[in-house]
C-alpha cells in the first residue's frame, strides 16, 4: 500500500475520517488534556504516542465515546454528530463473551430488540461475512465455537470483525502485538493493511517502536495533554526525535549498559536444567528469556514455586532445590514481578503500604504488621523515587507505570537472591522503562541473579548478558551470548516478531 504523504497545507478537511480538535478535559483539578489534536485520514494507519500521563488513554476514551469532552470538537467524516460505532476499540481479550459463539459475539450487537428472535441464519450469515473480511479461514472454521476456545490472536480478529460489522471506520489497537508470534503478527498487520486499502483506518497506540515502524504511516505525539507532533510522517522522523517530543531524554532509548563484575561477596551459581538444556547463571548476571509464553513460563513457574510438577530442575551452588509453593520460594530468596499488574501483582483494595511489604511479611513469617513496616515502605518509595501521595493511599491513585515500580519496590527489603521478572515493562512508557532497566542492573550489581522474560527484543538486547530463546512449541532453541544478541537472531530463534 502507499503511505499517504503528510502535512501538506490546505488538505481537504473531508479527507479526515476522524478529526478531534483542541480537546480539553479535566478530572477535578487535574487538567489532563489541554488542546489535543488528532486527525486521521481515511485508510491510514496512524500511531498515537506519548508517555504515561500524557493523556493518551483519556483522549482515546473521549474519541471512543466513553468520556465526555469539556471543550473542543470531534467530527467523523466531517460531521459533528458522533456515530458511536465509527471508532471501535479492539481490546486484546476483555471485550468478548467467552461462553458465547463467535457468530453470536459478532452478531449480538446488531440486535437491539430484546424479545425478537435471534435468528440463527442471519446471525451466521452476518458473522461469516464480517469475519471473512478479516480472515476467510477463521470464518469457515470457527463460527460456532465458543470464543474461549480461540487463540489470543484469533480473538483479536473476531473483535476486528465485530467492529467492522458494526460499521467501524477507525479501529483502535493498543499494543496489539505484545503476545503474538512472528507469523501471527504478520497476519494481523496484513489484515490491517488490507483493511486500510478498503478505507478502514487504524489508530495504533503503542510504546513499541518496532511495531510502530512496521505498520504505521503517520504519528501524533501527546505530551502534557497537547499534541506536540501533529500528523508527522514516520518516514520523516527519527526515533530519537519522537522520544524527545514525548519529553523524555533521548538517552532513554539506550538503557544503561550492562556488565561490570558483580560486586558479589557471596557468589552464587544457579544451574537450570530441563531435558536437553542446561544453563548456568552466576550472581550479577541478567538472563533474558525470549519467545512465546509456553517456554519462558515453564522456567518462571519452576523458579517461583508455582508449577507442579516442576518443568525444570534447579541447582543452587551444587544443591538441588525444589520450591513446593510460592511462599517457600520467597523464603528461599526468590522474588517475582509480573507484568500482569491487575491480575497477578497489585493488591488493589489494599493501601500502597501493604502492597510494598507483602513479600517481606511472607519472607520473615511476620505475624504483626509492625509500625516499622511504614518506615521500611517509605524508604523503599524514596529509594526508587516513586511518587505517591501517601503510603496509606490506594495503588489506583498512582499511574500504571508507578504501580509497576511498586511491584519492584516489594522486593527491596527481602533482597532476593534470584529476581524473576515477567514482562515488567509492559504498557509502561519509555521513561519509566529506563528506570526499570536501571533497577534491574542495580539488582544484578548487588549480586542478584535476574531472570527476565520480555517480548520486547530491544530491551533484552540492551540489558541482558545472555538470552535463552524458546521456539513456538516451548522448547529452548538456543542460548545467545551478548555478542550474538540482535533482533534478527532473536527473531530467528523464537519465531516471534521483534
Amino acid at each position: 500500500m502507499s503511505a499517504p504523504r503528510e502535512t501538506q497545507a490546505g488538505t481537504n478537511a473531508t479527507a479526515f475520517v476522524l478529526e478531534a480538535k483542541q480537546i480539553e478535559k479535566s478530572f477535578g483539578a487535574t487538567h489532563v488534556l489541554r488542546g489535543a489534536n488528532l486527525r486521521i485520514r481515511r485508510g491510514e494507519i496512524h500511531a498515537l504516542l506519548g508517555g504515561n500521563g500524557a493523556g493518551k488513554s483519556t483522549l482515546i476514551r473521549i474519541i471512543s465515546g466513553s468520556h465526555r469532552l469539556d471543550a473542543g470538537s470531534i467530527s467523523i467524516d466531517g460531521r459533528l454528530d458522533p456515530n458511536p460505532n465509527a471508532i471501535a476499540v479492539v481490546f486484546q481479550e476483555l471485550a468478548l463473551l467467552p461462553h458465547l459463539s463467535v457468530a453470536e459475539n459478532i452478531y449480538l450487537p446488531h440486535r437491539k430488540c430484546a424479545f425478537a428472535r435471534l435468528g440463527e441464519a442471519a446471525c451466521y450469515a452476518e458473522a461469516r461475512a464480517a469475519l471473512a473480511l478479516v480472515d476467510e479461514e477463521l470464518a469457515e472454521r470457527t463460527l460456532d465455537w465458543p470464543v474461549a476456545q480461540l487463540d489470543l490472536h484469533e480473538r483479536q480478529f473476531v473483535e476486528i470483525a465485530r467492529a467492522l460489522s458494526s460499521g467501524a471506520r477507525v479501529l483502535l489497537l493498543d499494543e496489539p502485538t505484545a503476545n503474538l508470534t512472528f507469523s501471527e503478527t504478520e497476519r494481523l498487520f496484513g489484515i490491517l493493511r488490507r483493511l486500510a486499502q478498503q478505507g478502514i483506518s487504524t489508530l495504533l497506540v503503542s510504546h513499541r517502536m518496532g511495531e510502530i515502524r512496521a505498520l504505521a504511516d503517520v504519528c501524533t505525539v501527546l505530551r502534557d495533554g497537547r499534541s506536540v507532533l501533529d500528523r508527522v510522517a514516520l518516514s520523516d522522523i527519527s526515533d530519537e526525535a519522537i522520544v524527545e517530543a514525548m519529553g523524555q531524554k533521548s538517552s532513554a532509548v539506550s538503557p544503561p549498559a550492562p556488565r561490570g563484575a558483580p560486586a558479589a561477596s557471596a557468589r552464587m551459581q544457579i544451574v537450570l536444567r530441563s531435558p536437553g538444556v542446561s544453563l548456568s547463571v552466576a550472581s550479577g548476571e541478567v538472563l533474558g528469556l525470549a519467545g512465546a509464553p509456553a517456554g519462558p513460563s515453564g522456567v518462571i513457574e519452576t523458579l517461583i514455586g508455582a508449577s507442579r510438577p516442576a518443568a525444570w530442575q534447579i541447582t543452587i551452588d551444587g544443591i538441588d532445590v525444589r520450591f513446593p509453593s510460592p511462599a517457600e520460594a520467597i523464603r528461599a530468596g526468590v522474588g517475582y514481578v509480573s507484568g500482569d499488574r491487575a491480575e497477578k501483582g497489585i493488591l488493589a483494595t489494599l493501601p500502597i503500604l501493604d502492597n510494598i511489604v507483602a513479600a517481606a511479611r511472607v519472607a520473615d513469617r511476620r505475624i504483626l504488621a509492625s509500625s516499622r513496616e511504614a518506615t521500611a515502605a517509605q524508604t523503599a518509595l524514596d529509594m526508587l523515587s516513586i511518587k505517591a501521595s501517601s503510603i496509606d493511599a490506594l495503588p489506583q491513585t498512582v499511574s500504571g507505570g508507578t504501580q509497576q515500580k511498586l511491584l519492584l519496590a516489594r522486593w527491596l527489603a527481602p533482597a532476593p537472591k534470584i529476581l524473576v521478572l515477567e514482562e515488567p515493562t509492559r504498557g509502561v512508557d519509555i521513561g519509566t522503562k529506563r528506570e526499570i532497566y536501571a533497577m534491574i542492573r542495580d539488582a544484578a550489581a548487588a549480586g542478584c541473579v535476574v531472570v527476565w522474560w520480555s517480548t520486547e527484543f530491544t530491551e533484552l538486547i540492551a540489558v541482558c548478558d545472555r538470552v535463552v530463546a524458546f521456539d513456538l512449541s516451548g522448547q529452548a532453541s538456543g542460548v545467545l551470548d551478548r555478542d550474538e544478541l540482535d533482533e534478527v537472531s532473536l527473531s530467528r530463534a523464537t519465531g516471534m516478531a521483534a
Binding site: L94, A95, L96, P98, P109, A114, L118, E140, A148, Q149
Partner: protein, 335 residues
C-alpha cells in the same frame, strides 16, 4: 478473578461446511442434561433395591408433586445465576407469599384475586433486589441477604407466627386441576415454564443477553447490551417464580406456615449447580435446573423410603452436589 470454564462438549469441534443433524446437535448441546437424567434413573433403580415402592406410579407422582415448586423456583434462581448473580431471598419470598395468601383467604377473597395479590409479593421483592443491584450498584449477595432476612422476619410478623389453614374449596384446582384434560396443572405449569424459558434463553435475543452478561458483564456493556435492564428483569422473574411456586405448594398443602420456604433457597441454588450452572455465570440451562430440582427431590424421597433418619437428608444432598460438581469439573476444560 473469574475463571472461564468451557464445556468439553464444545471441544467436539464441529466440522466446517455442513452442520450436524438435529439429533446429533441436541445430544451435543444437552450432554450434561442427559447425564443428569441418566443419573436420576440410576438413583431411582438403586433406591428400588431397598424399597421397591419407589418405582410405583403413586410414588413417582409424589416425587413430581414435591418437585414442582422447587422446579419453578430453581428456574428463577437459574436466570439470576446465569447472569453471575445470586438470589438468596427466594426462600423467604416463598414463605411471605404463603402468609400473604393465607391472610387474603382469611378475608374471603376469591382465589384468583388472592393469586394475583400474592404474586405481587414476588414482584415487589424482585424489584427491590433488582433495583438495589442495578441502580444502587450493591452486590447481589448483600442485597438478597437483606431481603432474605426481612422477608423471613415479615412472614412471622404478619400473622404473629400463626399458621393459616386455607378454607377456599376451589383453590386446590390451581395445583391439582386439569386445564388440559389428562394433564395435572402442576405438571403443565412446570413443563410450560421449562420449555418457554429454554426457548427464550436459546432463541431470543434477551436470552443470549442473559448469558452474555454472565459471561463478561463489562464486555456486554460495551456491546450495547442493556445490562441494567436485563439484570433487573432476572431478579423480578426470580421473585415472581418463587411466589408462584409458593402458591402451587399452598394449593396442594392447604396450610400456610411462616417457615414453609426455609430450606428451599439452598435447594434451588443446589438444583442449578447440579444442573450444570456455574456460579460465575454464563453457563447452564433451564432443563438442567429442572433436572437438578428433580434429583434433589428424588434423594429426599429415597431417604424417606429407605427409612434413614430424615436428619441425614442434607448430608446426602450435600454429598450428591459434591459428586456432581466434581464430575462436572472433570469433564470440562479450563481456558
Amino acid at each position: 478473578m473469574t475463571e472461564v470454564v468451557i464445556d468439553q462438549r464444545a471441544a467436539d469441534r464441529p466440522q466446517p461446511g455442513k452442520r450436524a443433524s438435529l439429533v446429533v446437535r441436541l445430544t451435543r448441546i444437552y450432554r450434561t442434561e442427559i447425564a443428569i437424567a441418566m443419573a436420576i434413573v440410576v438413583l431411582l433403580v438403586g433406591i428400588s433395591f431397598w424399597s421397591p415402592y419407589v418405582l410405583t406410579w403413586g410414588n413417582l407422582a409424589n416425587i413430581a408433586q414435591a418437585a414442582a415448586p422447587l422446579i419453578l423456583m430453581s428456574l428463577g434462581v437459574f436466570l439470576v445465576i446465569a447472569t453471575s448473580g445470586i438470589d438468596l431471598s427466594v426462600g423467604s419470598t416463598f414463605s411471605l407469599t404463603g402468609m400473604v395468601a393465607g391472610l387474603c383467604f382469611s378475608a374471603a377473597l376469591p382465589w384468583p384475586v388472592v393469586c394475583l395479590i400474592s404474586l405481587g409479593v414476588g414482584l415487589a421483592v424482585g424489584a427491590i433486589n433488582g433495583g438495589l443491584v442495578t441502580v444502587v450498584g450493591l452486590a447481589p449477595f448483600v442485597v438478597t441477604l437483606i431481603t432474605y432476612a426481612i422477608g423471613a422476619s415479615l412472614s412471622f410478623v404478619i400473622t404473629n407466627g400463626h399458621s393459616i389453614a386455607i378454607a377456599d374449596p376451589n383453590f386446590w384446582t390451581l395445583n391439582g386441576g386439569e386445564m388440559i384434560p389428562g394433564i395435572t396443572n402442576f405438571v403443565l405449569f412446570c413443563a410450560l415454564a421449562v420449555i418457554a424459558l429454554e426457548c427464550v434463553l436459546r432463541k431470543l435475543v434477551v436470552g443470549r443477553w442473559v448469558f452474555a452478561i454472565g459471561s463478561n458483564d463489562k464486555a456486554a456493556r460495551l456491546l450495547g447490551i442493556p445490562v441494567h435492564g436485563v439484570r433487573f428483569g432476572v431478579y423480578v422473574a426470580s421473585g415472581v417464580a418463587a411466589s408462584f411456586a409458593s402458591l402451587l405448594s399452598l394449593s396442594y398443602i392447604s396450610n400456610s406456615e411462616s417457615t414453609a420456604g426455609a430450606n428451599l433457597m439452598l435447594q434451588a441454588i443446589a438444583a442449578c449447580v447440579i444442573g450444570g450452572a456455574s456460579l460465575f455465570g454464563g453457563t447452564g440451562s433451564a432443563i438442567g435446573a429442572m433436572l437438578g430440582a428433580i434429583m434433589i427431590t428424588v434423594i429426599q424421597n429415597g431417604v424417606n423410603l429407605i427409612g434413614i433418619n430424615s436428619f441425614w437428608q442434607g448430608t446426602v444432598t450435600g454429598a450428591v452436589i459434591l459428586v456432581a460438581v466434581l464430575i462436572d469439573r472433570a469433564t470440562k476444560v479450563r481456558s
